[in-house]
Symmetry: C2
């Protein structure tokens, strides 16, 4: 074979080189046996499905500050306790407590016609204090809003109708590209004198389910109510506005922010046999929005974190570094749990090697999204072949997990389990994020992939 031909086939992936040094090859083989053991245990005896069934059917929605959030804490302590970690404890944290109140009502009237809209309050929004009725101005970009005079906005709802881009192959990127209209819309609208913000739901579906999610206020700007419209409702409103720019929009929301509540992160530990003072964490978030049982966001993550603990105990694999299974409170509206964890870790000057999270739903795991140094990334890429047999070897540099951010600078790598997320953005933060959308086998594959990553980091560090 000529050299050029060799490189051609190499580039095309026909030839794969295995030129690890002898020692590396030996440990590589041992690692692959360990990882196979974890997958076998998960796929044969995994408990994620029964745990997820319990969580979704017996507890359900568990928004920060709710009784159901506390029930989940209690259940998580019991369940992980049964898997016999070296220790398990609660980490107190104050969290916001927002409640939706009676269901929203919304419609518009145009030329004597009344059209009902499918609407939910965005998380953290103020209520409307009765019926709020006003004309609407539609924008599909920040530039379009900036181009409007205050007169064109004052006394109206601003309708943010920028859709997720269906041609973006990475649906998570399509979401991140439009999420600012949900998080920043109320502030931007209010600055120009609007009475409220109406936001197109962030979903790839055309349907009647509105999708909620976190939104922000600015202390220097008057708070105005913010609501999400289903994509079908958004399309109807947009079409009606083209025919009748003077139509009147009516919104009633009964949500309210109550005083903060004492809540907890749940933390279980397996002590490291060689470096007990170095930590690898694997986490997910307890809280959900209030519209559904939160099966994918993040019930799946919770039961996968529990499964990682169970897998270590069931296989007898002893971690070299200390592993912490962490269930964070309050990812959805401020990440106060994750912030508390990072503060405590900093106060104790703990050495964190890596923090891992699962928050991408009950779908096929594809790999990991990692924020780390170039050297760190080279290390992860060397482990890639170990994940290939399980099709979880798509490892890319990207910052993603909300609960990981507070550990930036304290941990050498922030790692998110990546799934095939086409399905996630059909259900995310809506009433249809339910158990039946989750595939039990895909959840197990994700748990095993995380356990494999934990084993490698715990063994070799970073």
């Amino acid at each position: 074979m000529r050299i050029k031909q060799f490189f051609l086939l190499l580039a095309a992936g026909v030839i794969v080189l295995h030129s690890l040094p002898v020692n590396a090859q030996v440990s590589h083989d041992a690692d692959s046996v360990t990882i196979r053991k974890l997958y076998n245990e998960a796929l044969q005896n995994g408990k994620t499905d029964s745990n997820l069934r319990y969580l979704t059917s017996r507890i359900g929605a568990r928004i920060s500050g709710s009784p159901q959030a506390q029930q989940t804490i209690d259940w998580a302590m019991r369940t992980m306790g049964q898997y016999h970690p070296d220790s398990i404890y609660l980490q107190p944290v104050m969290v916001p407590h927002w409640v939706r109140g009676a269901k929203e009502t919304s419609y518009f009237t145009s030329k004597g016609r009344k059209v009902t809209m499918d609407v939910v309050a965005l998380g953290g929004s103020i209520g409307t204090n009765g019926i709020l009725m006003a004309p609407v101005v539609e924008v599909t970009s920040w530039a379009a809003l900036a181009a409007l005079t205050d007169d064109q906005v004052r006394g109206r709802f601003v309708f943010f109708n920028r859709p997720m881009d269906p041609t973006e192959i990475e649906t998570f990127k399509a979401y991140l590209a439009v999420v600012d209209q949900r998080t920043q819309g109320a502030i931007a609208a209010s600055k120009k004198g609007a009475v409220g913000a109406l936001v197109r739901s962030l979903t790839l579906a055309k349907d009647d389910h509105p999708h909620t999610g976190a939104m922000s206020y600015d202390t220097a700007v008057k708070k105005v109510p913010a609501a999400a419209l289903s994509t079908n409702s958004a399309d109807k409103l947009s079409e009606a506005l083209r025919k009748d720019p003077a139509l009147r929009y009516s919104l009633r929301m009964n949500c309210i922010q109550l005083p903060d509540v004492l809540s907890y992160n749940v933390i279980a530990e397996l002590k490291g046999s060689v470096h007990p003072n170095e930590y690898v964490t694997v986490g997910a978030h307890i809280d959900t929005w209030d519209l559904s049982e939160g099966a994918s966001d993040d019930g799946v993550g919770i039961v996968q974190v529990m499964e990682v603990l169970r897998l270590f105990k069931a296989t007898g694999i002893q971690p070299e570094r200390t592993i912490r299974m962490i269930l964070y409170m309050n990812e959805e509206s401020g990440a106060h749990g994750a912030i508390k964890y990072a503060q405590q870790a900093s106060l104790k000057a703990e050495k964190h090697v890596a923090v891992i999270e699962s928050d991408a739903g009950g779908f096929a795991p594809r790999g990991f999204r990692i924020e780390t140094s170039a050297a760190g990334m080279a290390q992860f890429q060397q482990w890639r072949t170990l994940f290939m047999p399980y099709k979880a070897d798509d490892i890319q540099l990207q910052q993603r997990g909300v609960d990981l951010v507070p550990m930036k600078g304290q941990a050498k790598a922030l790692i998110s389990l990546d799934t095939d997320d086409s399905r996630l953005f059909y259900i995310h933060h809506s009433a249809i994020d339910t158990y039946d959308k989750v595939n039990p086998r895909e959840v197990l594959m994700g748990a095993a992939a995380m356990a494999a990553m934990v084993v490698l980091i715990s063994r070799y560090g970073l």
Copy 2:
């Protein structure tokens, strides 16, 4: 960088070589633009979802020989006709016509207790002609059956209870490893004098849904009825047999094989601009089993094949070789449509470059499974990078598609679209193969992946 280090990073995937010759690089770039165009058109304007909704909700199950199969033919002619192919026609074929009749009833009695079983007749099975009651002998391997004396089997049901292996990462392989108990069970049981075959459903789920599928008879061996038990029923029966090997099993099935029926393949053509007498086909199967609307098996394939035609017309891409969109009749019980197509192609001495099919459900496409020569495979591997941006670049040598087999030897490559099939084997051939299990975006991604493959083969041949 030292050479050794270079190879190390190369092996780990940190370095990716792009050393295509200049000409190849230029056409590679042009191809990537063409493929992006196909994906954009599909993701923005795709019709698969509305077509699948129609098929599943307005027509539903469409087993070979049924009025619904004919309705699907008529609808497919209308629908593809609207996309303006160069020609569209029907290819007549005689197909089997099996009907289930009144729902099966089944139970066992043990120690005065009667336990209902969830059971369906396997496709093509004879009925029981009233109630068939007999003891049961359970086997979990062919060796175990061979080890039994005829006396141990005579007058009993043989209960084939070999499960799909949950630790096999490729679920399709796990299926292929056990499917012989369904296809060959009745023959093997009858040879030893059994009165019938009971087969554990081929699914990864533990639930109450029995899964049907094709089974065979041998003209030299007495026909006996064959039924599938849900996995929960199979587990119950197995447990009961351990406690009471003499329990009595009762089965009533009302299925019957009617005379063969005249039916059709539906074929639409786009003429090749350079090599009109060379063919690339892209197909799926019209018929389903009778238990569900067959959304994933193979409604998705049908609407993807229609979409491939629509994509070519909507983007104005002109194929160099002739493309045939083929909807085969009767994949599930004999592949008579595909056999007819191959016979006609052979009679006319048509030059077929490749035959492609989609029959893996409404799940995320991962790539292609291909049966071809080593030279053919090297060609496909060179195209791999073109599928990488769409995560459809997992291209492996494997024979899969039932409707492709008759073209073996006539076409240079037999190509199956591969999806992430974890979810497929929870629903396959059961009552829960329904529209709600399908993700609209994943169907579009699959249609675009097939169109991309068609473009490349039509442009370069094999």
